[in-house]
């Protein structure tokens, strides 16, 4: 008999994926929920982009965000 283990918590995949997560789809510093600022903003970009800029936001994503009127962080 095979037992099926149901995972109810933790990552569903490799926890190390969190070191390089998908880009933000909404909001700015603070990570808005997707149904909040997401309609207008692709703010902040990836962590790697932000680190390269010495900021918490990537400049390309920031430019897109301000173009849509959402503003962005540093």
């Amino acid at each position: 008999m095979t037992e099926t283990k149901i995972e109810v918590g933790g990552f569903s995949g490799d926890p190390m994926d969190a070191l390089n997560p998908p880009a933000a789809t909404g909001g700015c510093c603070g990570g808005a929920p997707s149904d909040a600022a997401g309609q207008t903003s692709t703010c902040c970009g990836t962590a790697a982009e932000a680190t390269a800029e010495g900021s918490c936001c990537g400049s390309a994503a920031k430019a897109d965000a301000v173009a849509s009127g959402a503003g962005c962080c540093g």
Partner: protein, 396 residues
């Protein structure tokens, strides 16, 4: 495997106490806690007092902000012929690259490529510094660009953006903007009182105990600042991020009682996150080697999963978080968390950012009643179990 010393909470999280902290931080006299304001300063004093009451040594870490903050100092106005005044932050809002234009400016609406823009409000499909400058050269009196709203019809407020240009710029709700682009017979009248202010901030640091030489230290962080009230509108910032602040302080209280005595434990309640994570940028330089950072930004409404971003040499922290989340039953999703955690990670410090929901994000709807008690409880359990697992190994 032997049971870890932190395998169980020494007590349940005190949700009532956390709710009282959130309600206080969201109160009128703190005025939305924007960096550099009186409300922000009294919020910092309040938090230092709370940390002392929990047994920490509290101090302030002061810093200046190189990025200028935009401040709405009177309610902007926009009226269209035929439809009357529009509602600020629902029908329109300031664009952060707007010039300060407190006096009403009235003129016809024309397209960005119109042959004659002299004395007109220009409708553009998106903001561009170059096109705004060109419009100013052509004699335009302002620019209108489109913007969407959140699901409740609000335009979330932000306070830092690109360098202000030569003209007032307003972001107008997309449906209205589309109508203006089609009907050029409308006359617009608007004022945008939006100034640039230099600010300084203060992180609130609470040290519960220094770690022994070579031992692990934990730094729990959450930003306490908000975008600040508008002149005629409250922005209580209960979810982003009074909830995170309360959960981090409660986590520290419990960990102080359960962690081995050689493990360092401190809390940094950070200022200036909404101005570009400036407080964490300053404090990250002072964090010593061997410290692990857990940042909580949003602990108000856990939906399907908590969002997690890690940076720096954070592999042990991620494994501890995963183990803790499995024990507690919180699903985790790798997602961008562009918050203070990035500042610590950029300084080479292992850091994770955790997000557990911000209903009403940066709108007047971020009220204390929207902070879910169960989410607060889970946030504390997750942070405490992660710290315990990191120090002692996986919980059994």
């Amino acid at each position: 495997m032997a049971p870890a010393s932190g395998s169980a909470l020494v007590a349940d999280p005190d949700v009532r106490w956390m709710t009282s902290v959130i309600t206080r931080l969201a109160a009128d006299d703190f005025a939305g806690r924007r960096i550099g304001t009186a409300g922000g300063r009294v919020a910092a004093e309040y938090l230092a007092d709370r940390l002392r009451a929990l047994g920490a040594q509290a101090s302030f870490d002061r810093f200046g902000v190189p990025t200028a903050v935009r401040e709405v100092y009177a309610t902007p106005r926009l009226a269209l012929s035929g439809s009357g005044p529009l509602t600020f932050r629902r029908d329109f809002c300031e664009h952060l690259a707007s010039a300060d234009a407190p006096a009403m400016r009235s003129g016809p609406i024309v397209a960005i490529d119109a042959a004659n823009a002299d004395g007109a409000w220009v409708v553009d499909s998106a903001w561009s510094a170059e096109r705004v400058s060109a419009a100013a050269d052509a004699g335009a009196i302002g620019v209108l660009v489109p913007r969407g709203t959140d699901s409740a019809g609000w335009m979330p407020k932000m306070i830092v953006g690109p360098t202000p240009g030569p003209l007032p710029v307003l972001a107008v709700r997309t449906a209205i903007h589309d109508a203006l682009a089609r009907d050029r017979s409308v006359v617009a009248e608007a004022a945008v009182p939006l100034r640039t202010v230099d600010v300084s901030g203060a992180n609130v640091i609470g040290v519960f105990r220094d770690g022994a030489v070579g031992a692990t230290s934990l730094l729990l962080t959450a930003h306490f600042d908000g975008v600040g009230d508008d002149p005629d509108q409250r922005f209580p910032a209960a979810c982003d991020n009074a909830a995170g602040v309360a959960a981090v302080m409660e986590s520290a209280r419990l960990l102080h009682r359960s962690l081995p005595s050689d493990v360092g434990l401190a809390v940094a309640l950070l200022d200036g996150e909404e101005a570009g994570a400036r407080g964490s940028a300053n404090y990250a330089r002072q964090v010593r080697h061997g410290t692990y950072v857990i940042n909580l930004d949003g602990a108000a409404q856990l939906a399907d999963a908590a969002h997690v971003e890690a940076g720096g040499p954070a592999e042990p922290l991620l494994l501890a978080l995963d183990a803790a989340a499995r024990q507690i039953g919180v699903r985790l999703l790798p997602r961008a968390m562009p918050s203070d955690n990035r500042r610590f990670a950029a300084a080479g410090i292992p850091a994770i950012g955790i997000g557990m929901g911000m209903p009403g994000y940066q709108t007047p709807m971020e009220t204390p009643d929207r902070v879910d008690a169960e989410t607060l409880d889970k946030a504390v359990r997750l942070v405490v179990a992660t710290a315990s697992s990191l120090v002692d190994g996986p919980i059994v």
